[in-house]
């Protein structure tokens, strides 16, 4: 991946901004179809095998703070992820299919928004991605969480089994989580070896990252060029209302350049994609590119989290077994649609049991002295964390915008995202927190800490370039093409019109594969 291997005047079929789950998948699928692709990535080429502090322990650092990257490596751990591979380098790899209930939330629940596509539109693309990247999971036969093409999942941990048994008593399901991590080697990547460092850069690439699984193999087609360390400041649009390419500068040298293409796809992660379009003002689009509806940046709907921690009594004082695994092995899927409840939409819970290097909970254990020390030691194998994810409904106070004053280190406007939780979010928050507490107590456990709605945390940034059939109320159509500019696409979590409670990455990848088919066909027909 040379920095600038082609002349500035080279014209590509498609120029993609961003190289993560969305951009990486789109680029590879297009290149394999015969399309000439440029990927423009703001950060450097990073090697998941060598560049991260994957196996460090906190005690290696006097302040116990493990830097994400090795000394002198740029890319992650600062304000935003920059590097070829995007956030897939550090994600936890949870890979869940959305269900028809997720795509048709408004029709089914009377709240949220319908997608202009159905589960059946997406199913073939979910399948294609699962076969391509390798997803492990169990066939559970759940309506709200469709099964896929799965590798065998790793066994549940002892703590997961105790929670599964407890949950049966009160109708709360605990299943194997589903992750884009190989549990069996394929011809290019080894199987997971359960070192527990998935989110510190998997140094064997058993876990999916877009560089190893999508971009590097696609380079072999000869049709993919990656411009690394190239920060895009503007998507250019002609007077004839066509996207013509991007204007960028080199991250280190500041040298300016342009890349021209027959179509442009923005895929630099939700908030930054919206920011780039808002920065791309022109006489045709004074309020930001593809923003004739005024909807760009609206409908910001990240997941919101609650958390519960505690201990499983049956495991207190048990011998320590290395059950760190690939972090969380169990998942509490959405199960409440069939139940009477006082809120719309749903939640899901990532369930973390087993030993971990994260010992911040010890400070919450009561007492001091010999008894305290003993109490912590006994509880080490018994520690449980529930990380609950709720679906947020769009509201007028939650949006993405450019900061009118503050600039980043490159002089570009800072992008600000604001999310405000409403009444429905409060109800979901209480319900999902209660579900985790109930599950722990039914499983024979003690509650250590419970998070508070007043201190919200958000995860999985979604929305801002909402997908819909009406150009007056949405930014992109069902193929992720902007309503305003017929050769401009947005391919990441920003297009989600509703967020589901499920981790979004598999859906982002499936959307990218679907967009690749659509855009590839258009290019072949000479329609772009």
């Amino acid at each position: 991946m040379a920095k600038n291997p082609v002349g500035k005047n080279a014209v590509f079929d498609v120029c993609i901004v961003g190289s993560g789950a969305g951009g990486g998948t789109l680029a590879a699928h297009l290149a394999h179809r015969g399309v000439k692709v440029a990927v423009v990535e703001g950060g450097p080429v990073v090697n998941t095998r060598t560049d991260f502090n994957t196996h460090a322990l906190p005690s290696d650092y006097p302040n116990r703070h493990i830097p994400t990257m090795k000394d002198g490596k740029y890319g992650y751990g600062s304000e935003r992820a920059r590097g070829v591979g995007g956030k897939t380098m550090l994600w936890n790899a949870v890979a869940l299919r959305f269900s028809q209930r997720d795509f048709k939330g408004y029709t089914i629940d009377g709240a949220g928004a319908d997608w202009p596509i159905d589960y059946l539109d997406m199913a073939p693309y979910y399948e294609r991605i699962e076969r391509e990247v390798g997803v492990c999971g169990n066939h559970d036969g759940l309506t709200d969480l469709p099964d896929g093409i799965f590798l065998k999942p790793p066994p549940l941990k002892r703590g997961d089994l105790l929670l599964q048994r407890g949950g049966k008593k009160i109708g709360i399901p605990i299943i194997h989580t589903r992750k884009a991590t190989l549990t069996r080697a394929n011809h290019t990547r080894p199987a997971c070896h359960y070192c527990g460092n998935c989110m510190a850069g998997c140094d064997v690439a058993a876990k999916y990252n877009s560089a190893d699984v999508h971009l590097n193999p696609a380079m072999k087609t000869g049709r993919l060029t990656v411009f690394s360390d190239s920060i895009v400041r503007e998507v250019m649009v002609s007077k004839e209302n066509r996207a013509t390419g991007v204007r960028y500068f080199h991250r280190v040298t500041g040298e300016e350049g342009e890349i021209h293409a027959r179509a442009v796809a923005v895929a630099c992660a939700c908030i930054q994609s919206v920011g780039l379009l808002l920065m791309s003002v022109s006489s045709l689009y004074p309020q930001g590119l593809a923003n004739s509806s005024g909807q760009l940046g609206r409908n910001f709907i990240p997941h919101f989290n609650s958390g519960v921690t505690g201990f499983l009594t049956e495991m207190i004082g048990q011998p320590v077994v290395n059950d760190e695994g690939f972090i969380d092995h169990a998942y509490l899927p959405s199960y409440m649609h069939a139940q009477t409840r006082d809120y719309a939409r749903s939640f899901g819970v990532q369930v973390y049991t087993g030993i971990s290097r994260t010992t911040g909970w010890a400070r919450e254990v009561p007492g001091f002295g010999v008894a305290y020390k003993q109490r912590v030691k006994e509880r080490f194998p018994a520690y449980v964390t529930f990380q609950c994810f709720g679906e947020m409904l769009a509201n007028a106070q939650s949006f993405i915008q450019l900061d009118p004053i503050a600039k980043d280190e490159f002089g570009l406007p800072r992008v600000k995202a604001t999310a405000v939780q409403g009444e429905n979010e409060h109800k979901i928050y209480d319900a999902m927190t209660k579900a985790a507490v109930d599950l722990l107590q039914e499983s024979g456990g003690e509650v250590l800490s419970v998070s508070d709605f007043k201190v919200p945390t958000f995860n999985h940034q979604l929305g801002g370039c909402s997908m819909g059939s009406d150009p007056r109320s949405s930014v992109v159509d069902k193929y992720c093409r902007t309503h305003d500019v017929p050769n401009l696409y947005v391919v990441d979590g920003s297009v989600f019109p509703s967020s589901s409670e499920k981790n979004p990455t598999l859906t982002i990848m499936a959307l990218a594969a679907r967009t690749a088919d659509h855009l590839g066909d258009r290019l072949r027909k000479g329609d772009v």
């Binding site: 650092y61 006097p62 703070h65 002892r158 460092n197 973390y352 001091f368 107590q441 800490s449």
Partner: protein, 199 residues
């Protein structure tokens, strides 16, 4: 069914940001210096050490408190694990903690005088020190049960002290590997199968 919320007993805190077991760069010790540091700069326990924030006497008090909170047993305690040095490092970079310690340590001496007629905390017997620490803990516990926001005083001092010492100890090699017996971060050919009784 009894209302479980009413019956809910929480050992720790409500409203804390949970320490999710993310293995990236966050939440190993929840007080972290914002400045990245290179590996291997830690001072070996027992080696000559000049505190960045504490005076020599204050550092002795912190060391004494560290071993009261996590004493040496079959495994080394907080002082032998280098925790006082960690506390000094964090407090050096945190003005809020500096205020808490600059108020809390003299208070210990004041209580030592009023309750036991000794010049300072370091001159008390261990039993007397434990008694004072217990009253600090009680102050913190009352605030916790009442779900009051702690802004200063004994409760803030105890919470800061215990959190720093627990964080420092259980992220140290001694605390994590020797005391807790952490044996992960390893290569497994296969993940073990577990069984539990079906009841």
């Amino acid at each position: 069914m009894k209302n479980r919320r009413e019956a809910l007993k929480i050992i720790g805190a409500v409203g804390v940001t949970c320490a999710f077991p993310f293995s990236a760069n966050e939440l190993y010790g929840q007080h972290v210096s914002p400045e990245p540091m290179a590996a291997g700069q830690a001072v070996a326990p027992g080696a000559p050490f000049t505190p960045g924030f504490f005076t020599a006497i204050e550092f002795q008090v912190v060391s004494c408190l560290a071993d009261l909170i996590i004493p040496s047993t079959e495994t080394p305690g907080a002082v032998a694990a280098g925790v006082p040095e960690y506390v000094d490092l964090v407090v050096t970079h945190d003005q809020k903690l500096q205020r808490i310690f600059r108020e809390g340590i003299p208070n210990l001496d004041a209580v030592s005088q009023s309750r036991f007629a000794r010049a300072g905390f370091l001159e008390l017997t261990e039993a007397q020190q434990v008694e004072i620490l217990t009253s600090l803990q009680d102050a913190a516990e009352q605030k916790r049960i009442a779900r009051e926001v702690v802004v200063g005083g004994d409760a803030a001092f105890f919470n800061a002290l215990k959190s720093l010492i627990a964080d420092g100890y259980y992220t140290s090699r001694v605390g994590l590997l020797q005391e807790l017996g952490y044996n992960g971060n390893d290569y497994l050919a296969a993940f073990p199968e577990f069984r539990i009784a079906e009841h």
